[in-house]
Amino acid sequence: MRIYLLAGLLVLLGTLTQAQRVTGTVYEQGPTGKVPLPGANVYWAGTTLGTSADEQGRFSMPRSTQSNRLVVSFVGYINDTLTIGAESEWEVVLKSEQTLEEVVVQGNSTAIDRLSPTQTEIITSRALAKAACCNLSESFETNASVSVSYGDAVTGAKQIQMLGLSGTYIQTNVENIPAIRGLATTFGLNYVPGTWIESIDIGKGAGSVVNGYEGMTGQINVELQKPDGLEKLHFNAYVNNFGRGELNLNLAHELSDKWSVGLLSHASTLRNRVDNNRDGFLDLPLYTQFNAINRWKYQSEGLMAQFGVKALHETRQGGQMAFRPGQEGTSPVYGFGNNVSRYEVFSKVAKLFPHQPYKGLGLIVNASVYDGRSYFGRTRYDGRQGTFYGNLVYQSIISNTNHSFKTGLSYLLDDYHETYRDTTLARTESVPGTFFEYTYNYLDKFVLVAGTRLDVHNLVGTQFTPRLHLKYDLDAHTTLRASAGRGFRMANPLAEYYGNLVSSRTVVFLEQLRPEVSWNYGLSLTRDLHLGGMHATFIVDYYRTQFENQLVADMERPGYLYFYNLQDQAYANSFQAELNVTPAKRFELKLAYRLFDVKQTLGKPFDEQILLPRMMINRDRVLFNAGYALPYDKWKFDLTVQWNGTRRIPRMGTEHEHGTFTYQNMAAELAPAFYNLNAQVTRTFPKWDVYLGGENLNNFRQANPILGASNPFGRDFDAGQVWGPVVGRTLYAGIRYKIK
């Protein structure tokens, strides 16, 4: 027995000493040539055998019988895979990830971020060009996870929804600065013009703690065109059949090796009165928007800094066809108006460590003022918000790049002042906070992100926000992700249910509103497939958002809009399955189905408790998208079909003042299912793009989107019950002119 053991040991030792090793050096491309890169991960693809490069960038590891493909990876750099033959000494030059942007833009239109621990979809500028019109609210047309909800029939505000909840529960950032929040949630998506957008990241479920505590169902980050970007000039003109016109001009100029300056500008207007459904109301509000960003960027090897100003001015006017500005307040003609001014200054400074790319120190500071003045018939609503935000983030590693962390301090100051009729709502929030997020990365195969933040809120006390993300590659083609986390936000009822103010409903605050608190749990699976030689990706995910407290906006009872705190329970379950297939080069197909189960306990005004499906949320949705492009995108064709299932809507008709309305015996009403067809054709010339397209090509319209339209000052008037398109078929054409 012993002899066998000894012999076995000898054989083992023999193989060990005989085993060939692969050695080499990892470099990065510096400005003056290649520089050794310490700390990179080196491992055999598909195995757990790995090592990391030493301080001189040297590595040495045994050959593997399981794989001949050696992966070299490092945070901030693009992975490199080597096929190892007989050679044993290797030189690897890693490219910085900054060049990745270009790769993404050239790639498929919707990409899934494979390395991210959160389930993240990226909408590239290529996909954005598919939906030519016009701003952030319309940028999700070809995306299955985010859908547009129809707000009301008068104001033109567009909202999005994700995981069965409205856009207010999504943390929407513009270049990592919280942007669409507070009073700006009403029209905020209309304030980000489409041509300014470079790409959009959509993260589902709990997000990173670094950007704050407000994200409940997900986070959207919008990257804008950069001052040092490839496009030196981008001019866009757009017009549609309703007479909406739009001009965009982006300029980028490099002043020196280090300084660059950029301008993003936008002007759009609709002056044409449209009433296709002949209800006496404008189908689309008249409006004019001016919007611009000017920013300066400094980039050197050790420092990146940006400073900028944003300014926006928009006027809107809707209501009855006969209404003219100046008649507001007194007239027997119903009018809606909204004037918004928003100004912002921001700065982003990052200290970089060229020889330690995993390390960074960044400071974001921004300040903004928002001033909105509205009227709905004889009712006035004005809101002002001043915001100051600062976020200091430090990131580094713990001993090696398997363990990294981000930590920092934040401060948020929000000053709200709203008046509605004769009620004044004012509050000042002052929230200093701190956060820590740890990431464990095992060869990109297993990633764990555990983060927590602690925020001391002056009005509602200390808030603790833990969040956890896991990513595990089951094999080279299958990735499993899980996430869980808490979200917290202060609701702004009037801004969030703005469209419902265009009604004769009496607004009642039943009690002092508490902050909204939710927990989100999610699970997703991504798998790459080969279907008869075609490349395909299959994604299935399930998310649940459970509220500890939610702002309930109860519109069940005709004539009333009640706001109160959640009594029993509110939750949103979302299931989605998506298949992306590339049957041929430059030909992409997407088919997605999603199911929502969203419920809320209602009935407080009558001391009842009944769990009801949330209004205006359709349970089923199917999305189909097909895109085909000729080489160099000479011609591009795109077609999207959406099918929306039935949804619960408020009971039509009137309530007798002393009738027998109760939540228990309330009749359920359903809006019909409908589908929606969009298509676009683009022709590309070396410097020009010309596009022609249509939305709602099947010309579906909700019948009678405004209840009681004939008597807007009467008891039954309500324009806030819109579940489908108000205007019919939209045809548009536009040009883009670019100098690279």
Binding site: Y632, K634, L677, A679, F685, N698
Partner: protein, 117 residues
């Protein structure tokens, strides 16, 4: 409503069919250029690819030779060379258009040292 759906689908199918239609006439030309880096490559390939009659343009950065597949009834060698020259690069014995060359990013101009990207 249905007619529109069908016409859009039909247009779609047409383009797909057209794209797969086989080409019986196709000529190939090789042109030596003054391209330097990956940016030059994508710029030249794009401008050629979007010009009339060109089916495929592929630049080998090592040899700087551009291989162009084209339809001889729609374009010819002279026009292809002219496109390269107008983009700011030499095409065989033809010298780059000076104005276009000067507008190129510094890394793509002839004075730039050889580099990878």
């Amino acid at each position: 409503m249905k007619t529109i759906l069908f016409s859009v689908l039909f247009a779609f199918a047409m383009t797909l069919g057209a794209a797969h239609a086989t080409d019986d006439k196709e000529k190939v030309v090789k042109v030596k250029t003054s391209a330097i880096c990956g940016m030059c490559k994508s710029r030249l390939e794009r401008n050629l690819g979007l010009s009339k009659g060109v089916k495929e343009a592929n630049l080998d950065l090592k040899t700087k030779v551009m291989t162009v597949k084209y339809n001889p009834s729609k374009t010819d060698e002279a026009a292809i060379k002219a496109t390269i020259v107008k983009t700011g690069y030499d095409a065989n014995d033809l010298v780059a258009d000076q104005k276009a060359h000067d507008k190129l990013p510094k890394c793509c101009q002839k004075t730039a040292a050889p580099h990878v990207d």
